[in-house]
């Protein structure tokens, strides 16, 4: 009986050990990942300003991230603008404040939904493609070939992508904001019967350039984040097709989660900054 009890106690002890070891390994691996990604990001950013400047590559990636995302951004933003304005219209109708639908939609879009949805959509589309492309290059030794040819692969492959994302994201966010507002207008005015003058008048009265700029600023930040994460995951991929798939998956998922979290942090930082500057 005592033997059984001792063995049982030993088993329980081992199981607890295993659980804590597993947690410890996950935590250590998380911090190790964050550390290596941060170093990778820092190294790559430094290389943007190193000769030869990769202007052609930056333009190519801007075309890929920006131009090829316009359609999906336009489509998503139009329906987001319509859905959001419809819900706000229904809510405000209850308190007879439908004249505030325009500015409320504009505030929500320009400050939050525009940058966040642009970040999520482009992270999924372009970030996934970046991770898959670099991962494939890594496992097929194309990155090794670049290094052996005396070309810094971070400078050639990573830095232009990060710079392109940084430049393109605010532009895409501006497209999102504009098309979403158009969607809201076409639902509220011709369909729901709001007065167009009221819709626009209130927007120009309530919305400040700072509201739009904070959205564009956030979008630029999200561009840096998803490009940094996805290029890092692709660049460090290993293990053939399976490894490329995992790199793409974790790159996109991590980017999306961090975009959401970073949005909340940036919102508060920007509000604090505006408040400190006495702008609002």
């Amino acid at each position: 009986m005592i033997e059984v009890w001792k063995r049982h106690r030993q088993d329980v002890g081992d199981a607890i050990d295993r659980v804590f070891n597993a947690i410890g390994e996950r935590v250590a691996s998380f911090f190790s990942d964050v550390g290596s990604a941060s170093l990778f990001f820092y190294d790559s950013i430094k290389l943007i300003n190193v000769r030869p400047f990769r202007v052609q590559e930056v333009i190519q990636h801007m075309e890929f991230i920006g131009n090829q995302s316009v359609l999906i951004i336009g489509l998503t933003s139009a329906f987001t603008g319509m859905a959001l304005s419809y819900q706000i219209f229904l809510g405000f109708k209850l308190v007879n404040a439908t004249n505030l639908v325009g500015p409320t939609v504009a505030l929500g879009i320009s400050r939050e939904l525009g940058p966040v949805l642009t970040g999520l959509i482009v992270a999924a589309r372009a970030g996934g493609a970046m991770a898959a492309r670099l991962g494939t290059m890594r496992v097929s030794e194309q990155i090794d070939a670049l290094e052996v040819m005396g070309v810094d692969p971070k400078q050639y492959l990573v830095a232009p992508r990060i710079l392109a994302a940084l430049i393109t994201m605010p532009l895409l966010c501006a497209v999102f904001d504009f098309v979403a507002m158009m969607g809201a207008y076409f639902l509220c005015v011709p369909v729901l019967g709001l007065d167009p003058a009221v819709f626009f008048d209130k927007i120009s009265a309530w919305i400040h350039p700072g509201d739009i700029f904070q959205g564009l600023f956030k979008a630029a930040g999200f561009g840096l984040v998803f490009a940094g994460i996805c290029t890092h995951k692709g660049f460090t991929a290993s293990g053939g097709a399976k490894g490329v798939g995992e790199a793409t998956n974790t790159g996109v998922v991590n980017s999306m989660v961090i975009v959401i979290v970073l949005n909340f942090i940036l919102t508060n930082v920007i509000r604090f900054f505006y408040f400190a500057m006495g702008w609002q």
């Binding site: 030869p52 494939t136 097929s140 030794e141 194309q142 090794d144 070939a145 290094e147 052996v148 040819m149 005396g150 070309v151 810094d152």
Partner: protein, 255 residues
């Protein structure tokens, strides 16, 4: 061998991927002569490709030193290492061609990066010459790697490796996955390329024993992360080492 005759000098090289429990390379010492074709052979998992990556400076040793053309790779800054690698040309196992570039663009790439003083026409001319000397038919110059056969890709990979006229040419398992006729073609190509580039050093990592004896002037056999035997093909035939005898009998019988 005097210092001037040595292309690659490896001293007490150790490499571990698991924090020092297991060593893939275990105190390896090796001298690879200049101007010759050296073939590195060995059973699978003996550290051949890992050694090659160390010679290229793609992997940092856990301990030990590697001198390539008299330069200690890991005492250089990253920028110096990147520039130094222009002296090395590599034909990777599956050629590692950039899949978004055509054959000729692949060969132009290192020239565009490192011979910026040349005009586009000159670069194109050099690339065409390299492709022709590697035996690629001009009708394939503007095809993407996905449209080329395995042998053609190797030819493009070789032309790209030769683009900057490297002092050392390295081949990583160049005949893996090829049929016997293509294998012989690649072996001939290595030999012809070596003869055309007088004074250059060729290092071939291979498990193909027949090729090793056919093209190699100097053969290095690795076992358990160390050099088992290094010498001329005759040294191998005359060796009394049991593992060498077994490798030779199995390898040659197999081929």
């Amino acid at each position: 061998m005097t210092k001037q005759d040595i292309a690659v000098h490896v001293e007490d090289l150790r490499k571990s991927f698991d924090g020092g429990h297991d060593f893939v390379l275990n105190g390896l010492n090796l001298e690879i002569p200049k101007g010759k074709i050296t073939v590195i052979i060995g059973f699978s998992g003996t550290g051949k490709s890992v050694l090659l990556k160390h010679i290229l400076g793609l992997m940092k040793p856990t301990s030990g030193h590697i001198k390539v053309l008299g330069q200690d790779l890991w005492s250089m800054s990253m920028q110096e290492l990147i520039e130094f690698r222009c002296h090395l040309g590599v034909l990777f196992q599956y050629a590692a061609l950039f899949d978004d570039m055509t054959a000729i663009e692949n060969v132009c790439f290192p020239l565009l990066e490192h011979r910026r003083q040349l005009g586009r026409d000159e670069i194109l001319e050099i690339a065409q010459k390299k492709l022709v000397s590697s035996g690629l038919d001009p009708k394939h110059f503007h095809k993407l790697p996905s449209e080329l056969s395995g042998g053609m890709r190797k030819r493009v990979g070789l032309a790209r490796a030769l683009a900057l006229d490297p002092k050392i040419l390295l081949y990583d398992e160049p005949t893996t996955g090829l049929d016997p006729i293509l294998t012989e073609m690649v072996d001939d190509l290595i030999q012809e390329t070596h003869e055309k580039h007088a004074g250059s050093t060729s290092i071939v990592v291979s498990h193909d024993l027949f090729a090793a004896f056919r093209i190699g002037h100097y053969i290095v056999m690795l076992d358990k992360g160390n050099v088992l035997l290094a010498g001329t093909p005759e040294d191998f035939y005359n060796s009394e080492l049991e593992l060498v005898k077994r490798f030779l009998s199995k390898g040659l019988k197999h081929q």
